[in-house]
């Protein structure tokens, strides 16, 4: 097998047997993000055991999610789905009283064609609690795309932005503030600042981030006089941002193409297609793109980026010239690869479960430019990769680091290939200027660890067994 590294970005779809987590795993971070929610995963024992085991999200702390476990009677349609779900939802309402119940459809509800979207509006009325339906199934989606399905469903529930009311609010605020200005000068300054910031159309950012990271990004935009009017999702379901004609939206995660489409088509929002705010380069490009759409000239952004690069110096010395192979897992691969190339690394292959070239267009363009500027070969992008073939390719390429799903990490380490779990990038705080350090902290950990083990001579830890072909 010969592996050639081309001069342009190549895309291929291997449609192989690959491993990633089930999209219902989004429950693990979304239930924490949306604090007044309850997630009900409607699926089989297989789904429940996954959440419990592979993700280690435990029910011990009585979190706000549960399984509606489908039993034989449900599968063979002996029981009435509506009545069953009604029983469970009333119990949930009684026990936990959430502001919203989010039904997570699974492969099984798809296969038995359970009409969740049809039942939800009816039950919602009976129950008095809104029910949002997301089909986070493994037939159509991979891992992080689960978040995409939930946010897309939630986008329908955001209040409609009323232009008149919005303007009134500003005027009203002004009068209120005038009265208050008698009390404090400081308050008045804030109001002025607020009005000044309002010199652009409303901007809603979408993508689930820990609240500290979300406020960091909001703050970076504020430095450029851009006010974020809301996030999707919000800490509380009841605070969902207003959407509608004239609202600009921009994503912070590369796996939200469905949400983007919903926002454009169904909610008439205008999408700002920017690279994603991962790494100082990405964050700068993201802010620049938003600013340019609003006709705002950025101030001190380049200096800010340089500052961050300066602070990363020690890490950069470790990674420069090293090669990396993405097996593909969480759809953050393109953004991470672009950042690592900017750090001086060489990326051989970017495996990715699903590649939406339109939603990721700006990111792909930035990747292309970054490769040119850094004079590194363009990586090959492999959609739906075949893990077995990837391992063969890796044997040939011997990358310094493989970013891989959890199932392959230990075996690759045993074969002397450094690995980092891709899932860590899903859960770590990697967005914005300040968190670039965390990405490199993760990437360099195996390299640092192995530097300290280097002299021991233990790199290969597998036995050669003649009877079995060892891959």
């Amino acid at each position: 097998m010969s592996i050639q590294i081309s001069e342009t970005l190549t895309f291929e779809c291997e449609t192989g047997n690959y491993h990633t987590f089930c999209p219902i795993s989004c429950v693990a971070w979304l239930y924490q993000k949306i604090e007044d929610s309850f997630f009900l995963v409607i699926g089989t024992k297989t789904c429940g055991y996954f959440l419990q085991n592979a993700l280690g999200v435990m029910i011990f702390a009585e979190p706000r999610y549960a399984m509606a476990e489908l039993e034989e009677g449900d599968i063979s349609a002996q029981l009435n789905d509506y009545e069953e779900l009604k029983r469970l939802c009333f119990q949930i309402k009684k026990d936990r009283n959430p502001s919203v119940i989010i039904w997570i459809g699974t492969c099984t509800t798809e296969i038995i064609k359970m009409d969740l979207e049809g039942m939800a509006p009816k039950l919602e009325v009976e129950l008095g609690v809104p029910i949002v339906v997301a089909r986070a199934n493994g037939l159509d989606y991979a891992f992080t795309q689960g978040e995409d399905t939930v946010l897309a469903a939630m986008a329908h529930r955001c209040p409609e932005r009323d232009l008149l009311i919005d303007e009134n609010k500003v005027i009203q605020n002004q009068t209120i503030q005038n009265i208050f200005s008698l009390f404090s000068q400081k308050k008045k300054e804030e109001t002025l600042k607020y009005l000044e910031l309002k010199n652009h159309p409303p901007l809603v950012l979408f993508g689930s981030l820990p609240s500290t990271v979300a406020s960091q990004l909001s703050l970076e935009l504020k430095r450029q006089s851009i006010q974020v009017s809301g996030w999707l999702p919000t800490q509380r379901y009841t605070d969902l941002p207003s959407l509608g004609d004239g609202v600009y939206v921009c994503g912070v995660n590369p796996f939200l193409s469905r949400t983007a489409t919903t926002l454009i088509r169904r909610r008439k929002c205008k999408l700002i297609g920017a690279p994603f705010p991962i790494g100082p380069d990405g964050t700068r490009a993201w802010i620049e793109k938003i600013s340019s759409v609003f006709g705002i000239k950025t101030k001190g952004l380049e200096e800010r980026e340089q500052q961050v690069w300066q602070s990363l110096k020690n890490y950069l010395n470790l990674v420069r010239g090293k090669s990396v192979f993405f097996m593909g897992d969480n759809l953050l691969e393109i953004s991470l690869a672009r950042f690592l190339i900017r750090c001086g690394m060489i990326v051989y292959e970017i495996g990715i479960p699903y590649m939406d070239k339109r939603y990721q267009a700006a990111e792909l363009a930035l990747l292309r430019n970054t490769c040119r500027e850094m004079c590194t070969p363009m990586p090959r992008i492999v959609e739906k990769p075949d893990n077995y073939n990837q391992i063969q390719r890796m044997r040939e390429l011997q990358p310094d680091l493989a970013i891989t799903g959890m199932a392959h990490a230990n075996p690759l380490e045993a074969r002397g290939i450094n690995t980092k779990w891709s899932v860590e990038f899903t859960f770590a705080q990697i967005h914005g200027f300040t968190n670039a350090k965390d990405v490199l902290e993760l990437v360099t950990r195996p390299l640092r660890r192995n530097n300290s083990l280097e002299d021991l001579g233990w790199t290969n830890l597998i036995k050669k067994d003649n009877k079995i072909k060892v891959i």
Binding site: T46, M67, I75, E84, Y141, I471
Partner: protein
């Protein structure tokens, strides 16, 4: 539909895959949607496996669903045959793909024509059985397949070995301390002069299965997996089996005596002698294992009559109940299992050793029972450990579902004589942990000294009077130091030299303001 938060036993396909991937050079193909293949993650991470898990998911997506999956499944079987040259390929659906009601047996038949490996479809109902039952079933299916095959080919050699020998059936991947137990069982059998014919499925080759009937008897350490195989072998080949779990001194004795009985049916004819293990049992019990001595020791005397709750799989929960009640004089207030399918046997086993019996797979019911009984210690699964944490009751983990903590690098068997030591340690530490906490409460903790003596750093001109010292001791240890520092800082700032309870509160208020 059932509202579920937690499961003690996993879905059926996990059991099938655990058996298939325990054998050497066997590959399993899951016919499943993306994400259902998390078994690979579990095995790779928990067992810290160095090799790639021999399981491939043949992914069912929207596309495959529309076109039918036969082509894809057959292609994948053929591909794995070529890539890995396994002896056997096991095909299994998951809960999800089993409702597609495809004729998977037909896929298997199609594929077997063109591959070198044997191919079988794991014959399990994914909605009726759990992980453990499926594992038991799959193991029997594989054994039956190879013995039938050998018989058809006329290769079956039913003559038994010259010296006493045994098969150990039911050791497999992701089992609760299975690897360590296996080592301990091998040692026990060696001590008894019994050769190991085969250990299955862990580390066994399927092509060796035809030699299973050469052993004198089968040893089934855990009821959950292996019993079906043993019953099949007894029926088809007249092989006797011993299914007493050698856990705890008393049951080890029972197990060894039964082994003796099984072995002596043949020694009489073949070796013209009778084996007697009584001396060995006596030596081991009184001098090698420390557990019998522990039972007599003063440490254990202090545990007499203390209340405990036991919960776990049928094997471990019943053995543990017997150990606590019989060997240590601990009162088992409740013994329970989540193996509902084995309820009858369990009840029979623990009858007379406990006050009440609980058969359920609902963890809230277990939690409520523990809260009601308020035992001094719990012996349960990881779930009960967490229940115990919330109720502030110590818990020793004695059963699956497994957790990374149940894969220690060191040697920690639960079976055999070394197992008795481990269990005694576990019991003692669990209870004393509870007692230590209690003593800490009474005496205000180990670290009172730190509070009374002058601290190392500052020139300490401050004196705490006895009431304020007492008050300080009431404060939980982890914030005590901080409160002490804050109070002293406040005192210095305000020119106070003698710290009273009033000063402490004033400092607290000043800090809050």
């Amino acid at each position: 539909m059932k509202l579920a938060y937690w499961m003690y036993a996993g879905p059926a396909h996990i059991g099938t895959l655990r058996v298939a991937s325990s054998f050497k050079n066997v590959h399993a193909i899951m016919h499943a949607p993306l994400g259902d293949d998390y078994f690979n993650v579990m095995r790779s991470m928990l067992e810290r496996e160095r090799d790639f898990t021999p399981v491939t998911a043949s992914i069912v997506d929207r596309h495959v669903l529309a076109r039918g999956s036969q082509e894809k499944v057959v292609d994948n079987i053929m591909r794995k045959d070529k890539e890995e040259c396994p002896d056997l390929i096991v095909l299994t659906p998951t809960c999800t793909s089993s409702i597609l009601q495809e004729d998977l047996q037909n896929f298997v038949d199609r594929a077997s024509i063109s591959v070198n490996s044997d191919v079988i479809l794991a014959d399990v109902n994914h909605y009726r059985v759990n992980e453990l039952q499926a594992a038991d079933r799959t193991l029997e299916q594989i054994v039956r397949y190879y013995l039938d095959k050998a018989r058809r080919q006329g290769k079956l050699n039913q003559s038994i070995t010259d010296v006493p020998s045994a098969n150990i059936i039911g050791i497999f991947t992701l089992g609760f301390h299975n690897q360590h137990d296996c080592r301990e069982l091998k040692r026990l059998l060696k001590d008894l002069g019994i050769k190991i014919n085969q250990v299955i499925p862990e580390g066994g080759f399927v092509e060796d299965l035809e030699k299973l009937p050469k052993a004198w008897f089968n040893l089934i350490p855990y009821r959950e997996v292996g019993l079906m195989t043993a019953i099949y072998l007894e029926k088809e080949f007249g092989m006797p089996y011993v299914s007493i779990t050698p856990m705890g001194i008393a049951d080890i004795v029972q197990c060894i005596r039964q082994i003796q009985k099984r072995v002596n049916t043949w020694t009489h004819f073949l070796l013209n002698q009778k084996l007697d293990y009584e001396l060995y049992i006596d030596q081991q019990t009184r001098f090698i294992s420390q557990a019998a001595w522990f039972s007599r020791s003063i440490d254990c005397q202090n545990l007499t009559g203390k209340k405990a709750v036991v919960f776990g799989d049928a094997t471990h929960a019943s053995s543990m109940t017997k150990i606590l009640a019989q060997e240590m004089g601990i009162r088992v207030s409740c013994a329970g299992t989540y193996c509902k399918h084995d309820a009858e046997w369990f009840e029979e086993q623990v009858q007379g050793f406990c006050d009440e019996i609980l058969i359920t797979d609902d963890h809230t019911q277990v939690g409520d029972t523990i809260a009601r009984i308020e035992p001094s210690a719990i012996f349960g699964t990881q779930m009960e450990r967490h229940i115990g944490k919330r109720l502030d009751i110590p818990c020793g983990v004695i059963s699956s579902p497994v957790h990374i903590q149940n894969f220690p690098l060191g040697y920690r068997p639960f079976l055999g004589y070394e197992g008795t030591n481990q269990i005694a340690d576990l019991v003692y530490n669990s209870f004393t942990l509870g007692m230590e906490d209690h003593l800490l409460e009474i005496f205000g903790g180990h670290d009172t000294k730190e509070v009374i003596t002058k601290s190392l750093s500052t020139d300490n001109d401050l004196t705490w009077n006895s009431e304020s010292q007492l008050e300080l001791n009431k404060i939980p240890g982890f914030v005590r130091g901080k409160i002490k520092r804050n109070t002293e800082r406040f005192a210095r700032q305000n020119g106070i030299t003698g710290i009273t309870v009033e000063v402490m509160y004033a400092a607290k208020e000043a800090l809050n303001a």
